[in-house]
């Protein structure tokens, strides 16, 4: 189940870039990826003392590129309109932290592994875009990663990531459907809160 292993962790990896038919969505994905790679390879930020600073900087890059509200809204699916505005905002905050922390943990553990990212092309439909990439790991395993983005002003922002064809949003939607079919929204939020590590000072 290679897919499972990559499902939640392989959004970004180190390496060089190749590009085919690059438009604005690809350029923006690449810019964010490259910025994160620079942060990861900066020796000054690798020390234990500056580890949390590095996490903060990467988190800001993620926040700039990922539309957490869209990811949360789509993941909660049919349960989304049933929540109040305050609950929705709280959910966006908690869920984005869970996803970002997972991504940051993974980058902390092996983000500097040499690998290659190929940009395979993009497709645009109105204000939506799909950018297909391919990540080659150190042991030469290839993992297709597709970003789905929506245009917001000049920016293209991610609303879903498909790893080996499996949608992150769809996967969470299935989990939330399962949980909310059996228990309450309050319990889901309590579980979500318990999952997230405490804020580091």
């Amino acid at each position: 189940m290679k897919t499972l292993r990559w499902l939640l962790v392989a959004q970004l990896a180190a390496g060089s870039s190749l590009c085919a038919r690059a438009g604005e969505p690809t350029a923006q994905i690449r810019a964010t990826t490259d910025k994160i790679l620079v942060l990861l390879s900066d020796p000054a930020l690798k020390t234990d003392a500056r580890k949390s600073e590095r996490r903060q900087l990467i988190r800001s890059e993620l926040d700039r590129r990922v539309d957490w509200a869209a990811v949360a809204r789509s993941s909660l699916g049919r349960y989304w309109p049933k929540r109040t505005r305050a609950e929705q905002d709280e959910f966006i905050g908690l869920f984005s932290r869970l996803l970002a922390e997972t991504c940051l943990d993974k980058l902390d553990s092996n983000g500097a592994d040499p690998a290659k990212i190929d940009y395979l092309g993009e497709k645009i439909i109105d204000d939506y875009a799909s950018v297909k990439t391919q990540i080659t790991t150190k042991d030469q395993t290839v993992h297709p990663v597709e970003y789905r983005l929506q245009k917001a002003g000049k920016d293209w922002r991610i609303y879903d990531v498909l790893i080996e064809g499996v949608s992150l949003v769809k996967n969470y939607r299935d989990q939330f459907d399962e949980i909310l079919g059996k228990t309450s929204y309050e319990k889901l939020v309590a579980d979500l809160r318990a999952k997230i590590p405490r804020e580091t000072p």
Binding site: M1, T3, L4, R5, L7, L8, V9, A70, R73, S74, G77, R78, W80, P81, L98, L99, T102, D105, K106, S109, K123, I125, D126, Y128, S130, D139, Q140, R148, Y159, D160, E164, G165, V166, S167, K170, N171, Y172, R173, D174, Q175, F176, D177, E178, I179, L188, D191, L192, K195
Partner: protein, 261 residues
């Protein structure tokens, strides 16, 4: 030969549980699924790109209590047995050697890939797989290395679960088997049929037919340590997450094999 008759029994036993995609089934909407189309708060124009988008959005799971019990069993098996063993094994055998051993096991999967590519009418893919097998078995020292990749002989893996899907058989119900993990009725039948092509089953002695795949599992686990932990940490319901990912990835594999060469 015992394992062959076991495989044949499994195929026959599970056949009724497979959901064939009859025209009637295609015409009627799935009944047990959430009406998430109309409530979907976010439009995704790419979601309708594939045929798979028209399939039911979730796999049926009527045996969920049993499956969840097996999931728990596999969870314990991982943390209590597999992980410590794989850690110890990883200390004894260098990573590079373990990667080579993994490739060797992949190379032995050739008969499965070849036959299923043929069954799907993919002659070019079957030819490429043969080319890979010949090159990697000789120049690649029995499959320890993958020189075929450098010669543009890309892998085209195929399995019987995919072949059944290719001929319109639906996945049927979900199973989360002890040791084997996520599967479906079709996937289990596919695994049983593919095991007929596994060379280990033709070597006398239960030790070989069970021991060799078990060793392969240990070798793979030693290269993937920590990934299951990440999955558990990141998901709200790891069982549902694995079920969903299994269904999606198999649906995609079937969709890919339906595409023309």
């Amino acid at each position: 030969m015992k394992s062959i008759s076991l495989a044949a029994c499994l195929v026959l036993f599970l056949w009724p549980a497979l959901g064939a995609e009859s025209p009637a089934a295609k015409a009627s909407p799935p009944t047990s699924l959430p009406a998430d189309e109309e409530d979907q708060p976010l439009r995704d124009p790419f979601a309708s790109d594939s045929n798979h988008a028209k399939a039911p959005s979730r796999i049926k799971d009527p045996l969920q209590p049993m499956n969840r019990a097996f999931f728990q069993f596999n969870d314990r098996l991982y943390f209590w047995v597999l992980k410590p063993t794989a850690k110890g094994y990883g200390k004894l055998v260098p990573r590079q050697a373990r990667t080579c051993i993994g490739r060797l096991f992949g190379n032995v999967g050739y008969p499965v890939h070849f036959v299923n590519n043929l069954l799907q009418g993919k002659l070019k893919a079957a030819g490429l797989e043969t080319g890979r097998f010949v090159v990697n078995s000789t120049v690649g020292v029995g499959g320890l290395f993958d020189p075929a990749k450098r010669w543009k002989l890309e892998a085209h893996p195929a399995d019987f679960d995919q072949t059944l899907g290719f001929f319109g058989v639906g996945p049927g119900i979900y199973f989360d088997w002890p040791v084997f993990g996520p599967s479906s009725a079709r996937g289990t039948a596919g695994l049983a049929a593919d095991s007929l092509l596994s060379p280990w089953n033709y070597i006398d002695g239960l030790g070989v037919s069970l021991g060799v795949p078990a060793y392969n599992g240990l070798n793979t686990a030693s290269l993937k340590l920590g990934e299951y932990e990440t999955l558990k940490k990141a998901t709200m319901d790891p069982y549902a997450a694995m079920r969903s990912a299994y269904y999606e990835s198999r649906a995609l594999a079937v969709e890919k094999c339906k595409a023309k060469e």
